[in-house]
Assembly symmetry: C2
Homo-oligomer: 323 residues x 2
């Protein structure tokens, strides 16, 4: 029997070739823009398996319309776009792509931090716009990173790789806030667990890495933003909704922060009239945490391998279950 696999966007060839070589019937969404909810249903309704993007919402209602579906292989580590409870009840397996994007996302987090700290976007624009008139002893003054305190919210795998880089390269002390003590952080980074309040009061840099759940939604609101240190930096490469973006937008005029780096926003893409777009000390990238050649190829292949494992009846490589 030939299984039908729907892939909701063009992904790197390696995963597509893998499935093709195994004889799957592959259907790829043809547009460079994602399908809307109704388009998604009609595109995937006769598929046995789906490779999905984080922009595809698999709600209870949508899943109800897909009785044939056996597996959703999500091209992401986060899976907040999928109603896991409904999938479990309907015996739809869900997989994600952890680990293979850890290094890429940690590197992007560091890139955002350095870009904020060194005013990269305004500095490069100065050159581009022909405004570089002379060497300037008091222009584009950034902030140094050496021995600054890094506060991690959500001490997972990506956070660990990012914190390790900061600890080794800049001798940063690491503190973290999470549900439970993390031995990797304590042993390898000499990191200390603390309350969110204490972490915000002590950190020169706050970096968000937790998954989006009902507990973490709007975790950082007005109170938390106000309690950050003068001259500190806030970075979010996790999910936009972990920050109460309305509170963030309202705080911008009187913020004490040195700068903010966001790879994720709420909603995504960001609203065109968001005040976040108007401030020079805010750097926003279009959710490119995992966007390097190595990671995206590995994600593509892992998605395909999970699909094939399911239909071969072998163990899934990276299954997501309700925790």
């Amino acid at each position: 029997m030939t299984y039908k696999i729907a892939i909701t966007r063009q992904i790197p060839e390696i995963g597509i070739e893998y499935l093709a070589s195994k004889g799957y019937d592959i259907n790829i969404w043809p547009s460079t823009l994602p399908p809307g909810p109704e388009e998604l249903v009609s595109f995937v309704e006769d598929a046995d398996g789906i490779i999905s993007m984080l922009s595809d919402q698999f709600s209870k209602d949508i899943l109800k319309k897909l009785p044939k579906l056996k597996i959703i292989s999500n091209f992401a580590v986060g899976h907040n776009n999928i109603n896991l409870l409904t999938c479990t009840r309907n015996s739809v397996k869900v997989t994600n792509t952890p680990d293979v994007l850890t290094e890429a996302t940690a590197e992007l987090t560091l890139t955002l931090l350095l870009s904020v700290a060194r005013k990269m976007i305004t500095a490069t624009k100065n050159v581009e716009n022909g405004e570089w008139k002379s060497w300037n002893p008091t222009g584009f003054i950034g902030t140094g990173l050496k021995r600054k305190t890094l506060g991690i919210i959500g001490p997972g795998r990506i956070a660990f790789e990012f914190a390790k880089k900061c600890h080794l390269a800049f001798e940063m002390p690491i503190i973290y806030y999470g549900r439970r003590p993390k031995s990797s952080f304590e042993e390898h980074l000499n990191a200390k667990q603390m309350s969110l309040k204490q972490l915000l009061a002590e950190s020169d840099i706050v970096s968000i890495h937790c998954p989006l759940t009902s507990e973490t939604k709007n975790l950082i609101g007005a109170t938390e933003l106000n309690s950050m240190k003068d001259g500190s930096i806030l970075i979010n490469t996790a999910r936009g909704e972990v920050i109460n973006q309305n509170d963030l937008e309202l705080s911008l005029k009187k913020t004490q922060l040195f700068g903010i780096g966001l790879d994720v926003t709420a909603p995504e893409p960001i609203r065109h009239d968001s005040p976040l777009l108007k401030y020079e000390n805010i750097v926003i990238t279009p959710h490119i945490g995992s966007a390097n050649k190595e990671a995206r190829n590995a994600m593509s292949l892992l998605c395909a391998e999970n699909i094939d494992a399911y239909f071969q009846g072998t163990p899934l490589l990276t299954e997501v279950t309700i925790s």
Copy 2:
């Protein structure tokens, strides 16, 4: 006796206050643009000491017009703007600001590298221009840094700090090209010295850190650019003239490089019609290597301390002599 000190640009207050507290007669160039050669002479001709910027050219001809001058305290580590031989003959002391800007410049070098590797400038523009339409599995695909080979040209202090960060954070093997073996590189970074040709053939990233001298001027020309690896990255945070910029500009259409990061150009500011400004994979900053609060304050104070040491008759802190 009250000594007259001319400062050729507004610098951070800390150094000015230091000299003021010691009773010096301080004159600060009032414009945000540097003085031209003739303006420079008339501004400094009755000064006993000068705090100068790297944009101020102290040629033999200019120095001839300054018989009263005792010391030039250069607000930079490089001193290619000063004719050292003429200063020595005229008993004019020269000092610079090494060490205090090492960390800042190493951090900027890493910022440039990461910005090129992760297409930061085009990615942030995408958001700014309202072109971020959806999450894109094949957009802004960067290149990973883990275990890439870093080739250092000019293994000095800034290079060491930068290479150390790359070695620790990304497990990069380090190779270098310099006049003589460097024990700091060999012992702490397990780095290997090699010929320029060999280094260019083996490096995934080439980073330039040598001073500008008659030997290093145009060190990287067409032959060297052509012999770099496919998909490699070139970074220059030293002096623009170390690269033959004409050769670089001519090579752009058919370059095999992944990208280029330049904090320095030839000339500075860059010509408005330079083809370097037209390529998305080239990131140019306006010579901001030392531009962070910590470094610029320390540079300001060190310049002032060197001036005061001279007139107090105590040893200069960081004298530049002909090597």
